[in-house]
Subunit: 386 residues, 2 copies
């Protein structure tokens, strides 16, 4: 097990009817900017619940934060924060709204010239405007971590940011929201959370037995409840386990003491930036090819995963490892997720070369848990995913 | 899954050589009271490491905190805190030293008449003097939770306290300390952590699939690494998994959203208070009888535990559940822990009646996950454990 530091101060308020608790969590005398997306919260009753719970506060609204939170839109919100002397941000939405809010929390106190530098110059956020979240779409884990990913349409870039100042003060997770989520989004959430676990698990054995078992616990739970949630999103037991699994998949716990990969995300982000493919689907496209390309380096963990998750116990390490990749692809396919790039765009020729070029231009030469993947390797992996 | 709130702000600094990081975690200009036990830290090198790391600070020492931290001793430390204008407490030890330090953190700011009231009147601690810990004995999980248990020899009482003000600011966990721990203490640690998990798991199915799997992960890891740690305490991989498992067993995570029992602890505490039996051993004495007495109420979870932890997959629910209790007792016995009270004292006759009387006097009529166990039931359980 590797040395690690772990601290996660976010307060989670989980369960039915918990949105009403907002009023107890918001700072007294706060002037709040409530941020949300395209308005689905007005159709599913969340908007009313939030308005009711914040009725004793001064609240300004900012709606229209898109999936893959867009820099130009966020800069408009930043203007509102400054003009209205906002003191607290409240994200009501999924990962995109929460990530956008994290950017704003950081940008509001940023003293540099242009807030985009926070992303390009990888400025860690140690101080930010305090913010809370009401989660409406389980998937990214952003509600209990200190990272965010922001997109800039102008340059077709999608970049990450983070820092200890970016943990939400609180996050309210009411699994009842799940019954109003379209199944496409539910499938994305299950796939996103599952891949988050894979990125922190599918590396090489490092003697972190407990972390391995926690990671396996989340994957087993997602496999158990995923189909139930899709079949009946009003199944509260399934919904609550799905929601808590998504949070635990990326709140820092399972990555502590272990090597992590994250190359699948690095490649996937490019597919979203280039073609607008849903984030989760890009992960399902890249992951199987990535594991096949890096088979020798990952086969021990792949075989452990085969045994413990998919009950593939017969045969050699190579056989089990290979079968586990197939089984993972099948899992995605069974939920209706295509795992080939060509299913999403006819225009895929040249994608691999383009991503090679982008990574080369950015100087990204050491991806993956061994920091060994080159842009040329990435090109091969993306081609395997056509 | 039940509704829950979860917040755990303790910073964990885990791994080899991490004690040196103390100097980065202590508040500037702090006047520190360093608390420790009987002096084992002077024999294993921890004392020197802590002194080295705190050399830039003003540090007063208070040693001699006994196992089952004793109120009279702690009151002497409280006097030192007040006389020396201490601003930060540093516990260097196991659960007893840390629990004692939590009591002091609370008592230092307590405005009532007599700090023992914090325990007898169950006063929750919302504000306390800040404190950090250097863990020298994995077992209780006190390094990452906000609870403590304090003993008063005078009245033969052992009572709990807690509150959101009692999370350590930081805890340093260096698994290398394990190689100097006597095996009796290691066995106690494994048994204590394992029973902590059982108390939060062995109830009835509540649809908290992820929490169940996390609990099972900790038990599986303890079963895997426990014998290795006992065989070779310098096995770093085993030691680090043992240490992290003990912390995760009682840092709040696995109890969220599920019913919990804690009757084993309530009964066990009395055996320690009456006969001075090691805390962990009292749990191993009580747990099997408790599960046999409450068999009908617990058999579904016992059968799940049988299947997932002990690979007992054949037979009826009753058969699996019963075999799992036997297997648990065997696990304790194999580590050298006696699971009958008569192995610890010849003077056990009347113990059950005495505990019935104590619980009755305190008005404790609803123990366990169904709040249904009466003092008379407790008497029967303790008798089964003779």
């Amino acid at each position: 097990m590797r040395n690690f530091d772990f601290k996660n101060p976010t307060k989670i308020i989980f369960g039915k009817g918990q949105i009403a608790k907002l009023k107890e969590e918001l700072p007294e005398n706060a002037k709040i900017l409530m941020l949300y997306g395209g308005g689905s919260i007005k159709r599913n009753g969340i908007y009313e619940q939030v308005k009711e719970a914040t009725s004793g506060f001064e609240v300004v609204e900012f709606s229209g934060i898109p999936a893959n939170p867009e820099y130009e839109v966020l800069m408009k919100a930043l203007k509102v924060i400054k003009e209205e002397n906002i003191t607290f941000l409240l994200a009501v939405g999924g990962g995109s709204v929460i990530d956008g809010t994290k950017f704003l929390a950081s940008a509001a106190l940023y003293e540099g010239e242009e807030p985009w530098e926070i992303l390009t110059q990888k400025v860690p956020t140690t101080k930010a405007m305090p913010f809370g979240t009401v989660l409406t779409l389980p998937a990214t884990g952003s509600e209990m971590n200190s990272g965010a990913v922001i997109t800039r349409e102008e340059t077709k870039e999608k970049l990450g940011m983070g820092g200890p100042g970016l943990f939400p003060v609180f996050s309210i997770l009411d699994p009842e929201v799940i019954k109003s989520i379209p199944s496409r989004q539910l499938v994305n959430g299950i796939t996103d959370a599952f891949t988050h676990v894979l990125e922190q698990y599918m590396t090489y054995p490092s003697g972190a037995y407990l972390q391995d078992r926690f990671a396996e616990s989340i994957m087993q739970t997602l496999i158990e409840v995923g189909p139930k949630v899709l079949n009946d999103p009003s199944d509260y037991t399934a919904a609550s386990n799905f929601m808590w699994s998504c949070t635990m998949a990326l709140n820092g716990l399972i990555q502590k003491g272990v090597p992590t990969d994250w190359a699948v995300h690095a490649m996937g982000h490019e597919l979203t930036a280039l073609y607008g493919i849903d984030h989760a689907r890009t992960l399902a496209v890249i992951a199987p090819s990535h594991y096949r390309f890096n088979f020798e380096a990952k086969k021990e963990k792949l075989a452990q995963y085969a045994e413990r998750i998919w009950n593939i116990t017969e045969g050699s390490v190579d056989h089990k490892a290979s079968a586990a990749i197939d089984r993972t692809e099948e899992f995605f396919n069974q939920m209706g997720i295509d795992t080939k790039l060509s299913a999403y765009t006819e225009d895929y020729h040249g994608t691999a070369e383009e991503i090679n070029k982008r990574f080369t231009d950015r100087g990204w030469t050491g991806l993956g848990e061994h920091q060994s993947l080159t842009p040329a390797n990435v090109e091969e992996i993306v081609k395997m995913a056509y």
